[in-house]
Each structure stands twice: as structure tokens, then as C-alpha cells.
């Protein structure tokens, strides 16, 4: 369950039959075609994002469908890290992908597509949180409605972890992760879903100092290891 099934694949492929953006006379047409026909440059998610965008511009959407499948978990984690409730986060992720369609022609640097998506998702998430708070204020101003108001708050923590993390080692790791600053937690959750060359653009997208992570372990991961060592957990994997 949860894996890419045939029906879903078929549906996502339907993106191809609908998408009609981009003019075939676009100057980067040839670049895109070369990008799409050469053996896929799959060393990083960022490269696949660039190839997907270039293909999409000329009406070839297979790579985009595949990229949506691959990068949706990354957007989900990004949006959830801003404190957006699950139900609303679903829409914010959709909204982010929709925004990519709207900006497909104007993203000047295809290599920056992944970073663009992450930044867009974060901003949309903040906006959703802001709106949620405004709604909450309006709701609590109604005298009859305060009893249930707490049920409408976006849940700040990712969920009932005690129930799903029965294993002691899992709980230690999760606990250590939760001790890190929020942005470190966000960074590690995101890079854990990407490839090594993507670390730089991910860290840039979430406002971590450039160079703090890349070919090196980086401060967040080093800190996580340090916390685990303090707890006496040495068999990390």
C-alpha cells in the first residue's frame, strides 16, 4: 500500500494530455529537447526538477509527472514544518504545484526550480497559518462557539508519535531530532528525502547559511549525532 500503483500512475500521466503550456517556438526548445532525450541526468532531485520544467514548457510532461510524485513528500514536510494542520497542508501542497504551472514560463533558471518550489511552499504555508489564526480569532469572538474552538487549531506537532514509535531506538532518534532547533529539524527531514547535491539548494531555501551543509555533514546532522551519543545511542542504523 502507499506505493505508486497503476491507477495512480495512469492518472498522473493524464497531466500529459491536458498540459498545453509553452509555445513550440520558445528559444529554449532545443535545450529542452536535448535535456529530455539524452540519458536522464538523475544525480540529483534538483536536476530532475530542471529537466521536468524544461520538458513541461514544450508540452512533454512525463518527467513532470514523475517529479511531482518524487517531490510531493518534500513539499508536504515543508508545509507541515510551518505548523499547518494536515487537512490544510493537503491544499497548500496542491496550491504550490499549481503555482509552478502558473510560473512555468517565468522561472528564469530551471536549475532553481526545486528551491523555487520550497520557497513557494513555505510562503503559502505561512499564509495558511496566518489565515487560520485570523479565522480562529473571529471564531472565539462568538460567545457560543468557544467550546470547540481548540479543535480547529492547527496542530503544531506532527502527530501521535508515541503510538507509532513503539521501538525504543526509534523513540530515541525521534527524541533527539526534536531537541534540535526547528529549522534544523526541517532541514534534516527535507534532505533525508533528497539527494546529496540537493542539500545546498534546500538549505538555501529554508534560510540556513549557505555552506553549512553540502559535501560535509553539516551542523544539524553533526548535532543530531552528538545528541544521540549523549544518550548513549551509538548504533544509529
Amino acid at each position: 500500500m502507499g506505493g505508486p500503483g497503476g491507477r495512480r500512475g495512469a492518472h498522473c500521466a493524464a497531466l500529459g494530455s491536458w498540459a498545453a503550456v509553452g509555445s513550440s517556438g520558445a528559444p529554449d526548445h532545443e535545450d529542452a529537447r536535448r535535456e529530455m532525450t539524452s540519458p536522464p541526468e538523475t544525480e540529483s532531485l534538483g536536476d530532475r526538477a530542471a529537466a521536468a520544467l524544461l520538458g513541461y514548457r514544450v508540452g512533454r510532461t512525463e518527467a513532470m509527472s514523475e517529479f511531482v510524485r518524487e517531490a510531493t513528500p518534500l513539499l508536504w514536510r515543508t508545509v507541515r514544518a510551518q505548523g499547518v494542520a494536515r487537512e490544510v497542508a493537503d491544499d497548500v501542497v496542491q496550491q504550490t504545484w499549481t503555482a509552478l504551472v502558473g510560473h512555468a514560463e517565468t522561472i528564469s533558471e530551471p536549475k532553481a526550480t526545486l528551491k523555487w518550489l520550497l520557497v513557494t511552499a513555505r510562503r503559502a504555508a505561512w499564509e495558511a497559518v496566518r489565515k487560520g489564526r485570523a479565522d480562529e480569532v473571529r471564531r472565539t469572538e462568538l460567545p457560543d462557539d468557544d467550546a470547540d474552538a481548540s479543535g480547529m487549531l492547527p496542530d503544531p506537532s506532527p502527530g501521535p508519535e508515541a503510538e507509532v514509535l513503539q521501538d525504543e531506538r526509534d523513540r530515541l532518534l525521534w527524541g533527539a531530532l526534536r531537541e534540535l532547533p526547528d529549522r534544523c529539524q526541517e532541514l534534516l527531514r527535507l534532505v533525508s528525502l533528497a539527494d546529496r547535491p540537493d542539500y545546498r539548494s534546500i538549505s538555501a531555501a529554508i534560510g540556513m547559511p549557505i555552506g553549512s551543509i553540502g559535501a560535509t555533514r553539516g551542523r544539524c546532522l553533526a548535532k543530531l549525532r552528538a545528541v544521540l551519543t549523549e544518550q548513549g545511542e551509538t548504533s544509529w542504523t
Binding site: 502507499g2 495512480r8 492518472h11 498522473c12 493524464a14 497531466l15 491536458w18 498540459a19 503550456v21 513532470m64 509527472s65 511531482v68 510524485r69 510531493t72 513528500p73 508536504w76 507541515r80 494536515r86 487537512e87 490544510v88 493537503d90 491544499d91 501542497v93 496542491q94 496550491q95 504545484w97 499549481t98 504551472v101 502558473g102 489565515k131 479565522d135 506532527p158 508519535e161 507509532v164 514509535l165 526509534d170 532518534l173 531530532l177 534540535l180 532547533p181 529549522r183 534534516l188 527531514r189 533525508s192 528525502l193 546529496r196 553549512s212 559535501a215 560535509t216 555533514r217 551542523r219 544539524c220 546532522l221 553533526a222 548535532k223 543530531l224 549525532r225 552528538a226 544509529w236 542504523t237
Partner: protein, 166 residues
């Protein structure tokens, strides 16, 4: 702990190794278990991208009477669900219940403010159209289950809902 506590973490400049990657893999796995990506989100996103070519304004979804702990993709298909969408110009409430035919859904909808407006239910297989009555009510019977987005023709710019799973 804040970011300044991380200024001098030993080992930060060491190369990323197999142990680090394995640790990150566990972070990914635990994150997915604690806060799973909703089932069908990829498909809803793809369909939303497909529909995005159309000039429209997208409504916000407001959570109302959704079974506790569920996201739309997770909801039991047999339960009656009520979902409300809000927009500055319009609110749409829909109630979903099993249709007469197997695998179908009946959609009862209400618009506020009321108005006899054209309604289009956009699905991957094609559109279904109806018109709200003067009280803002509309019904779509025996809609096949699956992805859908409602579009309400109002003024110059139609208003659409996010993609949901019927």
C-alpha cells in the same frame, strides 16, 4: 536550543559518510510513520496542475465535520462527509453520500450567498454540469468516485475548489 548553539558543533565539517546517510534514511522513515504523506496527494496535485491552465480563483477549504483524524484521501468512502469551501465572494458547502449506483457519490451543495449560478464538477474523465437553484442549492447524482474539483461561474472569474477525492 536555538541556532547559535550550533556554531561549533564538532564533526560538522567532516565528510558526509555512509553512517550519516543511513541516519538520514531513518529520519525519513520515522517522519513518514509519524506524519504520513496523505494517500492520493500526488494524484490530487497532478489533477490540480492539469486544471490550473484555466483562469480561476481557488477557494480555501475549511475543515468541517470531517471524521476525526482523517484527511480527505483517508476518509471512509461510505460515510457521509460535509466539506466547506470559503472564498471572499462565496462559500460552498457540499455533503457527500453514497449514490444509487455502486461506486458513485451523491453531491448535495449549497452556495452562500444564494444565487442561480452554473456549476461544473471537473473530473479527470470529463465534466458534469448543473445549475444551482434560486436558493443556491444544487445536486449531482451518481458521480463516479475519484478526483474532482468544483467550479462555480460567478462574475468574470470563476471560482474553483481544491481537488478532493469523492
Amino acid at each position: 536550543m536555538d541556532m547559535t548553539d550550533l556554531d561549533d558543533v564538532p564533526g560538522a565539517d567532516e565528510p558526509l559518510g555512509g553512517t550519516d546517510l543511513a541516519l538520514l534514511a531513518r529520519v525519513a522513515e520515522l517522519s513518514e510513520r509519524v506524519d504520513p504523506v496523505p494517500e492520493g496527494l500526488v494524484e490530487r496535485s497532478c489533477f490540480a496542475m492539469t486544471l490550473a491552465g484555466l483562469e480561476s480563483e481557488v477557494m480555501d477549504l475549511m475543515v468541517l465535520e470531517v471524521p476525526a483524524g482523517s484527511v480527505r484521501g483517508d476518509a471512509s468512502p461510505l460515510e457521509t462527509r460535509t466539506i466547506t469551501f470559503t472564498h471572499e465572494r462565496l462559500t460552498v458547502m457540499i455533503a457527500l453520500s453514497p449514490g444509487n449506483l455502486p461506486g458513485t457519490v451523491r453531491v448535495d451543495g449549497w452556495l452562500a450567498p444564494t444565487g442561480a449560478l452554473p456549476i461544473v464538477l471537473r473530473r479527470p474523465d470529463g465534466d458534469l454540469s448543473t445549475t444551482a437553484d434560486d436558493d443556491g442549492r444544487f445536486v449531482l447524482e451518481d458521480v463516479p468516485r475519484g478526483l474532482a474539483s468544483l467550479l462555480v461561474e460567478q462574475d468574470d472569474v470563476p471560482i474553483t475548489t481544491p481537488v478532493i477525492e469523492l
